[in-house]
Symmetry: none
Subunit: 226 residues, 2 copies
DNA sequence: TTTAATATTAACTCAATGTTAACCCACTAT
DNA sequence: ATAGTGGGTTAACATTGAGTTAATATTAAA
């Protein structure tokens, strides 16, 4: 992937400058907006991969802006993350309703922020989806469980992420490279058999037929409707 | 890769000259067109890797031209980028529908443009056609299947690539050399019968009549419409 | 008719994937 | 500290089937 585009939205210019400076230095393409209204304009133009937005802002608050942004189909894959003070439970809920993908709490610790950003961009919006569903299987990211015909199956993290990725586009083949990039991350290197073993464990738990091997290409999730 | 070919389309000759001069200096092969109609002519001939096109033009606007260009399968891998003034939301949406890959906003900052061009060309067109389609057959690269009158056929890698190649230009004869170069790669050497066997297996699976032998020349895909 | 080009079949090879168990490490409870 | 637990990874070996080849038959062009 070329360098990712990030849009920062906050009414505090100092915070904007600070974050912009640091994120640019990290190699991201950064734009800023001072309020929700501006954010929408910039977002439509800039088509960022990630939007980090303060919840509380003058003119138009983050939640409203988020709803607006979600209306633009070109921004369907954009990840929206809210900045929020600790303990603002209510706004968090409303934020999720409006289509937010994650939260970062103030005060911001740069290290935390950067690792979070990396994580978000890596998994790349695709499986940012909180609930993935096919005819006979549902995967719930919030609860971290898989429900298969009323049977709840709990999976360890990697298996969960792997299944979530495959389910994000049923019938689509995911190459090993893509799986590695998405579930493990581009930087970290693991042996070639690792992925097979995870596939094996998944098949053991949800049944062999759900995951199909396309030799020389990759793996795909296929739904079984009985 | 040899030096990339870029087609610039804008109704403002000054901009064309400026960009052409600078891009040529960077080592790109550049051609220009003054409107959408000319752009299509040049594109069909020149087969550029990248087209940078103003949205607003006399004669035929960028979006219409883009749609036309997308119809030429030889230009399937060509990246089309629009030049647009800030905040033209509507045109952006329409542009993506028409098959645009990216946007560059005016006013143009040369540095931004160059880095963007580099990025686009690097990620490079590699994103081959995902779906190839004729009247009675559709080949889906994402799912790695062939659909023939509602019947799904899954093929192993080489057979799939071979069929995809032949289908990319129905009725066109592909020489053995071209097939080897495209499906196997220029370096790797395999015996001469290998290709026949793959053709055989394909015919077995999709029916004999779809692939015709032109003795002494090569093979071609012909559609069957019943 | 002659012959080079292609078709066909089956056997073979090897790379890709499957499988199993052991190992490492972080985390937890004792 | 110590032992226990479980996720994640690795290593060694087994299996599979895609891809190739070889041997023989058939075809179509000159």
């Amino acid at each position: 992937m070329s360098s990712s585009k990030i849009l920062l939205v906050d009414d505090d210019e100092d915070i904007l400058d600070l974050l912009e400076y640091n994120l640019s230095k990290e190699g991201y393409i950064v734009k800023t907006a001072i309020n929700g209204k501006k954010a929408i304009e910039v977002a439509n133009d800039f088509l960022p991969d990630l939007i980090i937005m303060d919840v509380m802002m003058p003119e138009m608050d983050g939640i409203e802006a988020c709803s607006e942004i979600r209306k633009n189909k070109l921004l369907a894959n954009t990840i929206i993350t809210f900045l929020t003070a600790r303990g603002e439970d209510y706004s968090q809920i409303a934020g999720y309703d409006a289509g937010a993908d994650d939260y970062i709490t103030k005060p911001i610790k740069p290290k935390v922020l950067f690792s979070k950003i990396k994580g978000l961009l890596r998994r790349g919006s695709v499986e940012a989806q909180l609930v993935e569903e096919t005819a006979s299987m549902r995967i719930d990211r919030e609860k971290y469980i898989v429900v298969q015909r009323d049977t709840e199956i709990s999976l360890p993290k990697k298996e969960f992420e792997l299944l979530a990725l495959l389910m994000s586009k049923p019938d689509n083949v995911f190459t090993r490279e893509k799986i590695f990039a998405s579930v493990w991350g581009d930087d970290i290197v693991v042996g070639d058999r690792t992925i097979d073993v995870h596939i094996r464990k998944l098949r053991e738990k949800i049944g062999d037929d759900y995951i199909k091997t396309v030799k020389g290409v990759g793996y795909k999730f296929v739904d079984i409707e009985d």
